[in-house]
């Protein structure tokens, strides 16, 4: 984390969560120019046509653009503050946008990719202080703001979502430390014949790490913004009772929060709470049979839902036959996550599936262990399903679903790390000295360490000493 930002910095200053309106603040000289590029004024106080021309303490209605695609992200209200008459004493802007997570994150992402830095803990207040906007007697308060902010960040880091990000990054870090250790071993103890001289291995490790970081970066601003929620995919043939179950699980009093269209048009996501656990139910409308063939597209979508989910409820209605179930599960499962799939024999009020035992037997062979007969209509065993959800939720760290980057600062850091790794891979491919590759891998690790809190030198020396046997 830079201690003092040189570029304009930005942050969403309204609370996390979905509200009607969110306010994004940007401070720093030059922020006007950045906003000019990204907005088109529709109506303003003095009829001016760009943000920079606005007088201080005036507002304008504007469209906020993604300048690469030229698409409007949101219609926003801009407020301008001139230096030094702003909170921080620098040139400042406030963008009031619509309060959805996706919109907020997209605007932040675009600001970051156009020259803004993410604000550090208490950075607005800190800057205000350094620019003399806050008097000496408040210095302590400023320090408290920083301390509290970082405390909050620390607490956030301990939440499950960030815990998962850290776990993921830990594996990326491990690849890179391994790569570095290989390079460093050769470099520090060159006269030893038994030190592994293996550029191929280094390259492989860098490529793996680069791929992992890349997929994290791509997940940022992908449109499907999640808070810390468990994703449960509802799968099964049409009319297998998914909707009834969904209604039954959500209940009247646990109101549906939002209905956000998913990444594919055919999946419907419903946010609800099961026994206090925040859950996103993903209704995969895509799995269906046309004549005797499974529709290829449907499988693809269902697979994606499978991969992205933490748990799968697969519904089998009384009239479904063994073959169609097994064919689908075989296709979808590929041996993964069998322990988090539950077969629900639905509509059990209207009779038992004639092949239930055979289905159970075949599914067991695939590693599936959970079978429940349910009826949404008569609420039979719905509580058993909920218990299972709770049990799986409580298996700590058991979530393997895709990790999505939601923090703009993290995104910025990882993007830089990716650039560094590109340089490293380039250097290794070009046969430039490993000293260069090592230098840029180190930069990448430095950056990842800004999220995970590890420092390169200490980790590296430990890795070298634990992995290799050297000495005079």
């Amino acid at each position: 984390m830079p201690i003092m930002s040189k570029n304009p910095f930005c942050a969403c200053s309204t609370p996390v969560g979905i509200g009607g309106i969110a306010v994004i603040r940007i401070s720093g000289d030059g922020c006007g120019k950045i906003i000019d590029k990204m907005t088109r004024i529709i109506r303003s106080a003095d009829g001016v046509s760009s943000f920079s021309q606005m007088r201080g303490y005036t507002m304008a209605l504007a469209d906020f653009f993604d300048i690469e695609t030229n698409k409007v992200v949101d219609r926003v209200v801009l407020a301008r503050f001139e230096a030094p008459h702003s909170y921080t004493g620098q040139e400042m802007a406030e963008i009031s946008c619509h309060g959805g997570n996706a919109v907020k994150q997209e605007i932040l992402r675009l600001l970051l990719s156009n020259g803004c830095d993410p604000a550090g803990p208490g950075e607005f207040t800190k800057t205000a202080f350094f620019n003399g906007k806050i008097d000496l007697s408040s210095a302590e308060a400023v320090m408290d703001v920083i301390a509290a902010d970082s405390q909050r960040a620390l607490m956030a880091a301990n939440t499950q979502l960030n815990g998962r990000l850290n776990a993921k990054l830990a594996s990326t870090e491990e690849q890179l430390y391994k790569a570095l250790a290989i390079i460093e071993m050769i470099v520090e103890f060159p006269e030893h014949d038994d030190t592994p001289e293996n550029d191929e291995e280094v390259l492989k490790l860098c490529n793996i790490a680069r791929g992992e970081i890349d997929s994290l970066c791509k997940s940022f601003g992908s449109g499907r913004m999640l808070s810390e929620r468990m994703r449960i995919a509802l799968c099964g043939l049409p009319n297998s009772g998914k909707s009834s179950l969904l209604n039954c699980l959500s209940g009247y009093d646990r109101a549906i929060v939002t209905q956000v269209p998913g990444t594919t048009r055919d999946t419907l996501e419903v946010e609800l709470s099961i026994e206090g656990i925040p859950v996103t139910l993903v209704d995969t409308a895509g799995i269906r049979k046309t004549s005797d063939e499974i529709e290829a597209m449907g499988v693809t979508r269902a697979k994606k839902a499978f991969e992205d989910s933490d748990m799968v409820l697969y519904l089998v209605s009384p009239d479904t036959n063994l073959d169609s179930v097994i064919v689908q599960l075989n296709e979808l499962l590929l041996g993964k996550k069998a322990d988090r799939i539950c077969i629900l024999f639905s509509k059990c009020d209207s009779g038992k599936n004639s092949e239930e035992e055979e289905i159970k037997c075949a599914c067991s062979k695939l590693g599936i262990r959970n079978f429940i007969s349910v009826s949404a209509k008569d609420e039979i065993n719905v509580d058993v399903v909920k218990e299972l959800v709770v049990r799986i939720f409580e298996q700590e760290g058991a979530f393997a679903s895709q990790i999505i980057l939601i923090n703009a600062r993290h995104y910025e850091i990882l993007k830089e790390a990716r650039e560094n790794l590109d340089m490293a891979i380039g250097a290794l491919n070009d046969g430039v000295g490993v000293d260069v590759a090592s230098s840029v891998i180190r930069l990448a690790l430095d950056r990842i360490g800004q999220i995970t809190g590890k420092t390169v030198s200490a980790e590296l020396v430990d890795t070298i000493f634990s992995k290799f046997c050297i000495g005079k």
Partner: protein
């Protein structure tokens, strides 16, 4: 004790008065003594044994990875290790040639006794320097400030500053299996009493362990069973002055080879069968040993998957038959050492001339030392070398020159010289020791340096010679040569940038030879050198007008061009590093009163008292948020100060 107490001791007498007293004449002491006397201060250098001055009690080599960089840095500042090593080299190599210029590391096998003799001669002929065989047992301190030292023979030497560099001698004991001797390395006398004196002054004392392998007689071994490792020709000298004057180190014909062998199953068996007699595992040894330099028994225990380990057999000098077994350090009993050595190929009948031993010694916790290497507890007292927790001749010498310079600057009432992590390996070394401390003998490694592309062995002079000149260790004549060299580098880079070549046949052939497409149109020589696989030397085929430069200049030109993009990245990192490094923290600051600092940070900062925000940021347990809080506090303080002045 204070001066009054010292005077009142029976038979005590005043033997002289000096500006700087240096305790210990190892590699740190020699550099410190040289620097202080050269800066015009009346200096006295004490040694327990004059014949062991600048002794190499372990491996007979100087340089190597990161260490070679240190030697060249010492030379660039005006030190002497490089110059003496250049005269005593019996084999030269440039390690890591294929790994990129940032990690090129010169290493020399050294004639051990010649090195000691040559160093003694240099120091004996140094103005302002007095050398004295004597055993310092007490420091004399008045009002928290060093005023003198006292020998075992009760001679009092007054001094204004003192550098303690006792290496591994303080309260040392050597261990071979069950046999413990109260001795220094190489059977030399140990230092007794000084450690107690330091402790009484309030300095925190730690205890470390290290070790050394056996030496065998060349006449008793069979070299035909070993593989040969020869030296290399055309290696630049350690000393930039020698390099600039065109002086060459030992030519290839004058060099001796080293040999390499592997341990056998028998070696492993002997060690395995006798592990119960190892003092490391029986608990006899209390000190912390280094991870990077494990004894051979340690290697077999810690790396069970490895059935054999490599051993190097190295000449100890031209006038001796002694051979050093690098990688075979042990603290097993003498009797077992015989069996172990005889299990090695070519050494079946070897006669051991000196046995291997482990050695334990007292040292000062470097966390009690300032970045200038002055003690935080006693004014005017400096420590350097292994007494600060480092390991290695080069690490010691590097601290020696820093302590020698800063002790002198202190006497002269000037600000200390503090090299930063972005300026030199020396800066990394000192900062690591005094900021992070160490729980094992600290060895310099290139991977400890964050700015490795920038801290190269070929540009040490560019980084440090102006500093050495300003301080006064580099004379005008040498500085003039230095400036000429730098001008040549700049000029040559400029010439390459503005010289263009078309796809002439020589170029086409050159490119095709390395499997690259020749350029279609004109290209500058600079562009050409930047391409992977093409070196400055290769381009000489089409660059007929080039001057003949030294290896150093050629390397600097090539690296500056090839690494330009990467260097820029590193320079950006350095720039942001410098900002925090330049923010000084008042030494009397009470961190307890700073609201917003976490408890752990308060404790760590209060204990360590960093000199800059940069140093504070490297203390383990101090978070970036703590640093932000600290910055705000310092700013508030500054304003308050201004306010008061108005």
């Amino acid at each position: 004790m204070n001066f009054e107490q010292a005077k009142s001791i029976e038979y005590a007498y005043e033997a002289g008065s000096f500006d700087v007293a240096i305790v210990g004449a190892g590699h740190a002491g020699c550099e410190a003594a040289h620097a202080a006397s050269k800066l015009g201060l009346k200096t006295i250098l004490f040694t327990l044994h004059l014949d062991a001055l600048a002794n190499l009690p372990c491996n007979p080599s100087i340089g190597g990875t990161a260490k070679g960089q240190l030697v060249r840095e010492i030379d660039a500042l005006g030190g002497i290790m490089g110059k003496v090593a250049d005269q005593c080299a019996i084999q030269m190599r440039m390690l890591n040639r294929s790994k990129g210029p940032a990690v090129f590391s010169p290493r020399a096998q050294i004639d051990r006794s010649k090195y000691s003799v040559m160093m003694k001669k240099v120091l004996e002929n140094q103005d302002n320097l007095f050398i004295k065989q004597g055993h310092i047992t007490d420091l004399i301190v008045d009002d928290g400030k060093i005023v003198g030292v006292m020998t075992e023979s009760k001679a009092i030497y007054r001094c204004k500053a003192c550098v303690v560099c006792t290496g591994t001698y303080m309260e040392s004991r050597t261990i071979m299996g069950e046999v413990i001797s109260l001795s220094g390395p190489d059977g030399l006398p140990r230092s007794q009493g000084l450690s107690k004196s330091l402790k009484e002054l309030g300095l925190p004392i730690l205890r470390f362990k290290t070790g050394t392998p056996v030496r065998v007689n060349l006449a008793s071994i069979d070299l035909s069973q070993m593989s040969i490792q020869s030296g290399e020709d055309d290696i630049p000298p350690f000393s930039f002055e020698n390099e600039m004057k065109g002086l060459q180190v030992a030519s290839i014909d004058e060099q001796v080879p080293c040999y390499s062998i592997w341990t056998t199953d028998e070696t492993r068996q002997v060690i395995h069968d006798n592990m119960d007699r190892s003092p490391l595992y029986s608990g006899v040894i209390e000190g912390t040993g280094p991870r990077y330099c494990p004894s051979i028994e340690d290697k077999f225990v810690r790396f069970k998957d490895k059935s054999r380990h490599q051993i190097f057999v190295e000449h100890m000098g031209n006038d001796t038959n002694e051979m050093y077994l690098q990688g075979f350090s042990t603290s097993l009993p003498e009797q077992i050492q015989e069996q172990m050595v005889h299990s090695l190929p070519g050494l079946q009948k070897a006669t051991i001339q000196r046995n291997a031993y482990a050695i334990e010694y007292d040292l000062v916790d470097p966390l009690s030392v300032k970045p200038s290497l002055e003690s935080k507890i006693v004014d005017g007292l400096f420590t350097a070398g292994q007494v600060n927790g480092s390991s290695g001749y080069e690490e010691a010498a590097a601290q020696g020159i820093v302590a020698g310079i800063n002790a002198s600057l202190k006497v002269l009432n000037k600000e200390p010289m503090i090299l930063t992590r972005s300026q030199a390996y020396i800066g990394v070394l000192v900062d690591d020791l005094v900021t992070k401390g160490t729980n094992e003998p600290y060895r310099m490694m290139t991977s400890r340096a964050e700015y490795r592309l920038f801290l190269r062995q070929d540009n040490c002079d560019r980084r440090l010679t102006p500093i050495g000149h300003e301080i006064g260790l580099i004379d005008n004549e040498r500085f003039c040569l230095f400036e000429q060299k730098q001008a040549q580098i700049i000029e040559e880079k400029q010439r390459l940038k503005s010289t263009f070549t078309g796809p002439v046949p020589e170029l086409v052939k050159l490119m095709e030879d390395i499997g690259m497409k020749p350029p279609q149109s004109g290209i500058s020589l600079e562009e050409l050198i930047r391409r992977p696989g093409i070196t400055y030397d290769m381009v000489s085929l089409i660059d007929k007008n080039r001057k003949d430069f030294t290896t150093d200049i050629k390397k600097a030109v090539e690296t500056d061009i090839k690494y330009e993009g990467y260097l820029k990245l590193e320079e950006a990192k350095i720039a942001s590093f410098k900002k925090l490094e330049e923010k000084a923290i008042p030494q009397e600051l009470d961190y307890e009163v700073i609201s917003g600092l976490r408890l752990e940070a308060k404790q760590k900062l209060n204990a360590l008292r960093p000199v800059s925000v940069g140093q504070a940021s490297r203390i383990s347990g101090v978070s970036p948020a703590d640093i932000a809080v600290l910055l705000v506090f310092l700013e508030a303080n500054k304003r308050e100060f201004k306010h008061e002045r108005l």
